[in-house]
């Protein structure tokens, strides 16, 4: 880790000049804007990788201050259109945690249904994003998910049907498929009718069959890739290390499906263990790009002579848990709750597919106990006294923690520790040891949604961690 004073340290600048520096900007096939600044050795192996968001910071945590606790979650939802459900629910539940409001059981069930429906669609969408990295088994042909040709079209249609099932269930339970309108502080605006309940049930039943098929297909394609020695990139055969995407960081997950909050009897996340460092401390200082590859698809890497300065370009903070970056997401959930132990990019991809069926089993389980005549809004919604509350939601991409203080119905303080922000430093470490051409493939394993990964730092003026103060 470099400190501020290191900037003028001649030793450090020299070290930078010794390796080749290559930059891939912008990265593709994920959500939002990010780039990779990679220091590579003579054989093209990454020695240090910085993966950073370059999405402008809309500053939702700051603009939230002074707004109503009803409006802030609606705004928070709109930091990301791929896991808007997670942001809506985590934001609402952090408000509820602050004002100490328990929601009725049926409201909670609708939220879980919405959560699972979103995860289902999200996994399927991610399939589309990674398929172009993978091969049709038994061939040297990469998969273009948009081709009309079989067998790909059949798979692509199945993916879209799975997404349609997820989005439609989400629309019924949550009011809208993308930014849900039904959840609100205190519960939900409306319960669903019995007719709507059966419709969701039918969809879930259909989805379960398709999800199993799709999971098996994806696992076969991923395993096939795992057996390969090389992959073609920009006309070259790039060797695939068996340890692609390995890192030694830990995992963090709060629940296999849903999440946790400070209202829980036994919360599964602890704000005292969370420390945030600045990108300044974490990322590389200024470097000059001194290696470029015009054949890298599509359009080549950044031109030699361009300057990069990850420290100040990074648009996110760097949250750590017990002082270390952690991985969040499907593999973290499987590792924490199901003793899953496969590492690397392959392990991550497999874990994500393994989450397919449970999305639907959980929806069905909730529908079995949902009472369409039950109330879905708390009788009493306190307006808040400024107490600290947090809620963690297991977004498709991992733990999404929102923290809030609400007083008299208005937000005094709001923080979003979103999944991709947790993953940025971890994924950066996972790049080490890979041929630089595979770096994008490694970060795609995290299914990054970069737009949301923008939040403020919480070190106060005296450099004390706000979280510690919160606990006092």
């Amino acid at each position: 880790m470099y400190l501020y004073s290191d900037m003028n340290n001649p030793m450090r600048n020299e070290a930078i000049q010794l390796s080749k520096v290559v930059e891939i900007s912008p990265t593709t096939r994920h959500e939002g804007h990010s780039k990779l600044v990679l220091k590579v050795n003579d054989s093209g192996i990454v020695e240090r990788g910085d993966w950073l968001s370059i999405t402008p910071v809309r500053g939702v945590e700051k603009l939230a201050i002074g707004k109503t606790m009803e409006q802030v979650p609606k705004i928070a939802s709109r930091v990301c259109g791929i896991c808007p459900i997670a942001h809506t629910l985590a934001a609402i539940e952090s408000m509820e945690a602050s004002i100490k409001c328990e929601v009725p059981k049926d409201a909670h069930l609708l939220r879980v249904i919405l959560q699972c429906a979103n995860r289902l669609h999200s996994i399927a969408l991610h399939n589309v994003l990674i398929l172009p990295d993978l091969y049709i088994p038994g061939t040297d042909t990469k998969i273009n998910p948009f081709t009309k040709e079989e067998p790909v079209r059949t798979v692509a249609k199945r993916i879209q049907r799975i997404r349609e099932i997820g989005q439609t269930i989400g629309e019924i339970a949550g009011g809208e498929a993308i930014h849900p309108s039904n959840p609100r502080v205190g519960g939900m605006y409306r319960n669903v009718t019995e007719h709507a309940m059966w419709k969701m049930y039918d969809l879930a039943k259909e989805g379960l069959v398709l999800a199993h098929e799709q999971m098996e297909f994806m696992i076969a394609v991923i395993r096939n890739f795992q057996k390969r020695d090389w992959t073609e990139i920009g006309g070259q055969q790039i060797p695939i290390p068996k340890t692609l995407g390995y890192h030694n960081q830990g995992y963090m997950a709060t629940d296999p499906i849903y999440g946790s909050s400070s209202l829980d009897e036994h919360p599964t996340w602890n704000p005292a263990r969370w420390i945030e460092t600045r990108p300044w401390d974490w990322y590389m200082g200024q470097v000059e790009i001194n290696y470029e590859d015009p054949t890298y698809p599509v359009g080549g890497t950044t031109k030699v002579g361009t300057k990069a300065w990850p420290q100040i370009e990074a648009c996110t903070g760097v949250p750590t848990y017990d002082g270390q970056p952690v991985e969040v997401g499907p593999r973290a959930r499987l590792t924490m709750f199901k003793n899953y132990d496969e590492k690397g990019t392959i392990g991550q991809h497999i874990a994500r597919q393994m989450e397919y069926p449970d999305c639907l089993y959980s929806i069905i389980k909730c529908l079995d106990i949902l009472n369409p005549n039950g109330k879905v809004l708390a009788d009493n919604i306190p307006q808040g006294d400024g107490s600290f509350g947090w809620a963690a939601n297991e977004a498709p991409r991992g733990t999404d923690v929102h923290l809030a203080r609400v007083k008299d119905g208005r937000v005094q303080w709001f923080e979003m520790l979103v999944p991709t922000t947790w993953n940025f430093p971890t994924a950066s470490r996972a790049l080490v040891g890979a041929p630089w051409q595979l770096a994008e493939m490694v970060i795609r394993g995290y299914d990054p949604c970069v737009s949301c990964a923008t939040h403020m730092i919480v070190v106060d003026e005296d450099n004390r961690i706000v979280a510690q103060k919160l606990m006092q």
């Binding site: 629309e171 009011g175 498929a177 039904n182 319960n191 009718t193 007719h195 709507a196 419709k199």
Partner: protein, 289 residues
């Protein structure tokens, strides 16, 4: 036939054959009968209709999914009922795939704009299975109707059994048999502002539209307009839901409908023109492009 009646395939005078429906219907019970039939046939799985709200004659739009619920919506409430407000929720927490909706001509325009320009209406356009329009000369706000009934007509809202507008009169019928008819000169002042720019009388954009004008008492004039409308109407006729008479054979017939439509549209076109120079060198907005 001028353009004021819009496009239509057939026009008849009709009445529901269902005694229960007709008993409390406004006219020939066309709307309720058509929805009841469509519901029974699975053509729709619910309909957005206007029931009664928390005050006498205050409308409350709701989604009816059974015949019993439909029956509670019979009769015209002469004040604004925001039926289209339910059009998206019907496809969400109600889980409907085939939505029926009844409304005034302006509401039919709203429904078609929802379908052609679904700006805030995700997944709604293809779920509108039957849009039934009702003729409309003008509408009122609740307080306007209350003033007309309680002040001008001297009746209590609670005791009113039915209101009608026809034959140049606004008529109030009470449970105890009182009938008060006010000339439309009086009601004019209370008309809803937005109605003065309205250029549609017979719900030109509905699948099927209906109203009392043109047909004898207890009967309705019916325009069947779209393929969808034609399909459903023909099935309903085949199923014996309606008795019909050719429109040419009833009095006062289409001539009156055309005349009233023309008058309404003409009057409002003049008003729209006036709006353009409402101030000094400045006007009011014209929504039509």
């Amino acid at each position: 036939m001028g353009m004021e009646l819009g496009k239509y395939k057939t026009c008849v005078s009709a009445r529901s054959t269902d005694k229960e429906i007709v008993a409390k219907a406004q006219d020939g019970g066309i709307v309720t009968q058509l929805f009841a039939f469509a519901l029974e046939q699975g053509i729709i799985d619910g309909a957005i209709v206007t029931g009664l709200g928390d005050r006498p004659w205050k409308p409350r739009p709701f989604i009816a999914t059974t015949r019993e619920e439909l029956l509670t919506s019979r009769g015209t409430k002469y004040n604004v009922s925001p039926n289209v407000a339910w059009i998206k929720e019907a496809t969400r927490s109600f889980g409907l795939d085939k939505v029926g909706i009844v409304g005034t001509p302006c509401q039919m325009q709203a429904v078609r704009k929802v379908q052609l320009y679904p700006i805030g209406m995700r997944d709604v356009p293809d779920k509108i299975a039957l849009a039934v329009g009702i003729f409309c000369m003008e509408n009122f706000l609740y307080k306007s109707i209350q003033q007309l009934v309680e002040d001008h007509a001297g009746q209590k809202m609670q005791s009113v059994k039915k209101m009608t507008i026809g034959k140049g009169k606004f008529s109030v019928y009470t449970e105890r048999g009182n009938v008060v008819a006010l000339p439309l000169k009086i009601t004019e002042k209370y008309e809803q502002a937005g109605c003065h720019v309205c250029l549609d009388y017979v719900a030109n954009l509905s699948d099927v539209s209906t109203g009392s004008v043109g047909s004898p008492d207890g009967w309705s004039t019916v325009f069947v307009r779209t393929k969808k409308g034609d399909h459903i109407w023909s099935k309903a006729i085949a199923a014996g839901c309606f008795e019909t008479k050719p429109i040419e054979e009833v009095k006062p017939g289409l001539e009156l409908v055309t005349k009233l439509a023309h008058e309404k549209i003409h009057k409002n076109e003049i008003y729209l023109n006036k709006r353009a120079s409402y101030g000094v060198g400045k006007g009011l907005r014209n929504p039509y492009i």
